[in-house]
């Protein structure tokens, strides 16, 4: 207990998280490529789509490991950043839903690339949350 309490906030777990994130991204883009390449063979679709999902569970596990051992203020900042990001996405989706309700408001969103916008959004929310504790 004592040793654990006094252990420095080591970033030793970060490399594993980066590797998991990298492997996930590779598997995701391989799956996307595979969906195009093997599209005619429909029974392969689910298998190809599941490939990044398996790696995703590993990534989530690594994120949890990092969050459990991270400095408690950092944990609080990440929590606030997540809350901000979630509400921003909720507001954006509700706004887009309203636009679709208008007669000429039909919008076609590139769902396959929308996830990419979430990364900088989370970064902005993280910086906003961190600012309060500086």
């Amino acid at each position: 207990m004592e040793q654990e309490a006094l252990a420095p906030a080591s970033p030793a777990r970060i490399p594993r998280l980066v590797v998991a994130g990298g492997v996930f991204m590779i598997s995701y883009f391989l799956a996307r490529h595979g969906m195009h390449a093997w599209a005619p063979v429909s029974h392969w679709d689910i298998a190809v789509m599941s490939m990044p999902l398996l790696v995703f569970f590993w990534l989530v596990w690594e994120v949890q490991r990092v969050l459990r051992h991270i400095d408690e203020l950092q944990r609080r900042i990440h929590l606030e950043a997540l809350a901000l990001a979630f509400l921003t996405v909720l507001l954006a989706l509700m706004g887009l839903g309203l636009i679709e309700e208008t007669p000429k408001g039909r919008i076609t969103l590139p769902f396959r690339d929308m996830w990419f916008a979430l990364l900088p959004l989370y970064g902005i929310c993280y910086l906003a949350a961190r600012r309060h504790y500086r």
Binding site: A5, L6, A7, P8, A9, D71, E72, L73, Q74, R76, H132, Y133, R134
Partner: protein
Amino acid sequence: MIVRNDLRERRAEHDWSQGELAERLGVSRQTINAIETGKYDPSLELAFRIAKLFKARIEDVFKP
């Protein structure tokens, strides 16, 4: 409820920098700074560790 603390004074008595204190407690320097400026109230576990490090009672370091 606002919780005040005399962490800065106690740290100064020991002539520790924020970084040194952070290292002793196993937290980041930003955490120490946020506690000292009253922007962040530490967890009960960290509050006990701080009190123990300064050989004080928790209610002497943190006051409502």
